[in-house]
């Protein structure tokens, strides 16, 4: 098909761009111009070619594989691009492209700082190479190497601003969990390799597995990929690590790296294991629902902007996995079309989350750089100071809150439609579990909207709460351009869902042998996932309707305007007859979330202290009030503390055999040797 011949060249250029960007940055410490003028453009080239190659593979349904003369002598790396890999490669492409536009303006703040520019450029390039090679890898060995490149380079990016102790701690937690996760993935692959005949994905696909072993492989994969994606309870590194990385890296990590984990999960479950069991779907659905609700509740409690966004990534990963869980349930119970619908919903939300989360993190970076604040409680009124960032951030907020006609709504709508097909199932338990998951999804969506009203209202609206914020300025042109790109894509994918779902057809066809052609059977205006009678959504018409309604109001307004004094005037804010309102009288982020905090208090760990110093003579008049609120992640106490205790006690038990006498150690070696010889013979 068209452009197929260029696929190898595009892939080569994509990898060369990111690798080259990483290499040229080595000189950036001497010549600071290299980063913005050479490294980021190369990264942008990598992004464009990744996007192009991914789109060609996905839309033309092309598969291309090749071997690289890398790796061990008898184990060359296998690379392969198919529609699924193509889809995720194009996600990486969009994210990288936006980052490369945004980077030159953003890294200017590091030019005169204590940190090395070379390290930043080197690891950023390697990070992108790692992500690209994960989705291209076609054997377990290449996959693991690429996976570790991605993990390690992102560790260096998280710890980049290392003079802050909190950053070092966050990075350590990340590294630890990335390694445990990597181990789980390796073991999961190990099961498949052990039963199969080799480490290439083809051999693993052919591995004959019984249900027990495939369940073990699934559970290990879920742990490993879930750790990277941020499923509760193995999510704790995420809200620590994402906020402390430089903002363009946060966008890449939250927007793109989590998607690479989703890719790994889909590749393992739907492709390598191949025949998912419905029980896995139930487990996944429960975990994913908890993840979604947990993520949004904790996001509501945050007042650090980037940390809040990181918790929202957890929520969205939950929504993606709800779609995957539904898909597995329907595939496992013999409803492949509905299973495909769930998969499409999950893929669509993956795409959407990549777009709006990158957009929001880039916007947050612009806000942080412009106002020099990361605490929302000190911001306010930024819309007047950063109008473009404000506009694009608003689009991101609307998209992530799943409001029509933007993209987040389409994928949640598809997920709901999948969940509503529960009546097709025979098992009563499943029919009861899925609606509850749908209820949680609805609650999550509504809470997310509340959270983003809080974010936008406190950060961009109202009055600035500090002098530094009052003086903040609009971000550099490239930074605004990157946000504009992502924001327009948010609208585009919200308005043209039929084209997007058509593009997913090859992905699902290659993966499961089914495609959702019925969804787009009624023309480009109508998205009809099951049938036109069951549900239809005319997204372009909704946009048209909104524009028409606005136009109609404009006409009414113009028609009424001649009526004498119907004009607009500016005046003071209503102050109830007291003194003029000032910035400190505004509702804060904590105050905004207070009713929700109170309602969901049993699910949170709140440390709230109010100290009031009263006037000696007048026992009711406070002189000073101090309110402190700390919301602790409940999983630290419930999950990690017991695990840590268990590790400690086991280590202490084991250490008893370490007597410190040489003869004991010699005896241990001798016994081990005998045992090994016995095992071998």
């Amino acid at each position: 098909m068209l452009y197929d011949n260029f696929l190898p060249i595009m892939l080569a250029l994509a990898l060369a761009g990111s690798l080259g960007s990483s290499l040229v940055s080595l000189l950036a410490d001497r010549r600071a111009w290299i980063l913005p003028r050479l490294a980021f453009p190369l990264l942008g080239m990598a992004g464009i070619f990744s996007l192009a190659a991914g789109l060609v593979a996905m839309i033309n349904d092309t598969t291309f594989s090749s071997q690289l003369p890398l790796g061990l002598p008898w184990l060359h790396w296998h690379l392969r691009i198919d529609p699924l890999a193509g889809f995720f490669l194009s996600l990486i492409g969009i994210g990288t492209l936006a980052t490369s536009l945004y980077g030159p303006g953003y890294v200017r703040e590091f030019h005169h700082g204590p940190y090395s520019l070379a390290v930043l450029g080197l690891t950023t390039g390697l990070f992108v190479v790692g992500m690209q090679s994960v989705v291209l890898a076609d054997d377990a060995f290449a996959f693991m190497v690429a996976w570790e490149i991605m993990s390690l380079s992102s560790y260096f990016l998280v710890v980049y601003q290392h003079q802050n102790a909190a950053n070092r701690r966050a990075a350590f937690v990340y590294l630890l969990m990335a390694q445990v996760g990597g181990l789980a993935i390796m073991l999961s692959f190990g099961v498949l390799v052990g039963f199969g005949s080799g480490i290439s994905f083809d051999a693993m696909r052919a591995a004959p597995l019984n249900l027990t072993w495939s369940s073990i492989a699934f559970a290990l994969g879920l742990l490993g990929f879930g750790m990277k994606a941020g499923l509760v309870p193995v999510h704790v590194w995420l809200p620590e690590a994402h906020p402390v990385a430089p903002s363009h890296i946060s966008a890449l990590m939250s927007g793109v790296m989590l998607k690479v984990a989703v890719y790994g999960f889909i590749r393992l479950v739907f492709d390598l294991i191949g025949t998912p069991h419905w029980g896995w779907g139930v487990a996944l659905l429960i975990i994913a629902s908890i993840t979604a609700l947990f993520g949004v509740l904790y996001a509501l409690m945050q007042h650090d902007l980037k940390r809040l966004l990181a918790y929202h990534s957890i929520e969205n990963i939950g929504i993606i996995f709800i779609g995957l869980g539904l898909s597995i349930i329907f595939f496992g119970t013999g409803h492949p079309l509905l299973g495909t619908l769930g998969l499409v919903a999950a893929l669509y939300h993956t795409l959407n989350h990549m777009l709006f989360k990158s957009l929001l993190f880039l916007g947050a970076g612009a806000v942080l750089q412009g106002s020099r604040e990361h605490d929302m409680e000190r911001m306010g009124g930024l819309l007047a100071r950063m109008p473009w960032t404000g506009l694009f951030f608003l689009i991101g907020c609307i998209s992530i809150s799943a409001l029509p006609p933007f993209n987040g709504f389409v994928s949640e709508w598809l997920t709901f439609q999948t969940a509503l097909q529960v009546v097709n199932l025979d098992s009563g338990v499943l029919r009861a579990v899925i609606p509850i998951a749908a209820a949680i999804l609805a609650l999550t969506g509504a809470l997310a909207a509340a959270c983003f009203v809080k974010v936008y209202g406190v950060v961009f609206l109202g009055q600035p709460r500090t002098r530094r914020v009052r003086r903040s300025r609009e971000a550099k042109r490239g930074m605004v351009l990157a946000q504009a790109l992502l924001a327009s894509l948010c609208l585009l994918f919200g308005v043209l869902p039929t084209a997007t779902v058509t593009a997913f057809n090859h992905v699902t066809q290659g993966l499961t042998g089914h495609s959702l052609s019925v969804a787009t059977a009624h023309g480009w205006l109508w998205l009809t996932p099951i049938s036109a009678d069951t549900a239809s959504y005319g997204a372009p018409l909704v946009l048209l309707g909104i524009l028409l309604a606005l136009g109609a109001w404009a006409i009414v307004y113009l028609f009424l305007r001649p009526r004498g004094h119907a004009k607009m005037n500016r005046g003071e804010t209503w102050d109830c007859g007291f003194g003029p309102p000032n910035a400190r009288m505004q509702y804060t982020a904590s105050a905004f979330a207070m009713p929700i905090r109170r309602i969901f208090a049993p699910l949170l760990r709140l440390n709230e202290t109010v100290e009031r110093e009263l006037r000696p003579g007048l026992p009711l008049e406070p002189v000073q009030l101090r309110h402190q609120l700390h919301v602790e992640d409940i999983t630290w106490n419930w999950f990690y503390a017991p695990v840590a205790r268990l590790l400690h006690t086991t280590a202490r038990r084991v250490s008893r055999i370490q007597t410190g006498h040489l003869r004991h150690y010699l005896a241990y070696s001798f016994v081990t040797l005998i045992l090994l010889l016995w095992v071998i013979t």
């Binding site: 709901f416 209820a439 509504a446 009203v453 609206l461 909704v542 309604a549 009526r563 500016r570 309102p581």
Partner: protein
Amino acid sequence: MNEDLNAWLLALVQTGTFVLLAPLFSGWVKRVKCWLQNRRSPSLLQPYRDLWRLFGKETLVSYTASPLFRIAPYIIAGSTLLAAAVVPLLAVNLPTAAIADVIVLAGFFALARFFLALAGMDVGTAFGGMGSSREMTLSALAEPAMLIAVFTLAMVASSTNLSTVINHTLADGMVLRPSFLFALLSLILVAMAETGRIPVDNPATHLELTMIHEAMILEYSGRHLALVEWAAQLKLMIYGVLIANIFFPWGIATHLNGSVLFIAVAAIGIKLLVLGTALALGESMLAKMRLFRVPAFLTLALTLALIGLLSHIILEVN
């Protein structure tokens, strides 16, 4: 083609009727409330006069307001108008109904609420922030209840399309389904919360610490206020029509024909009169709840909705 054109035309007329009659419905509720409370009632046309007066008045905007504050009323009114366009008022099977199903309807409400809450926070007063915070909290609990309640209906009809749901109920005839009963109860509770009626919010007060909707729009004046008020009246009417036409669809026009349409107009008129009376009766009998009792109220709605859904799944399937 002619058929299509007629259908689109009727859809347009239906939306226009919706918009024009919404103030009348609020006026009716107000009138019945006055009767019940032994007060003299204003004319039924009073809401129209209020809107007309507001449209003609000077619009005062705070110095500290951003452009969002000025755009928000149009978006709120626009998305509420869209919501009205997709709800079958007089006839089913209109082309507009296919654009958006019941989830999209909830999405339109959410979009309007999102901008209303943002506008509340824009000027930077404590009142506005308070209203926004409360509105978003309560809607976060009300929206899932509403969705689950309508999912029950959607599962019964195996469609989320409102027209199909109504057709299905019409075809089924008078069957008492437990799931419908629970869904109806839940939807009534949700409607009271979402449209800011007693016992959740009090639409009649301006200076009560527990107010929600009025706190958000305190800074609005002139035509902005008129649009926001109109949107609120429209929302009340949409919820009324939803409850009336989904659960008691008899009388709605299934094909386009003069006499059938006439019956449909009469039927929806009677249904709304009865519903409005019931709402006024309820509002006169109940007292406003404390804010932190409202979550219990909404959790009740959510539980009822879930019970309805589960009772459908367990009792009624097969």
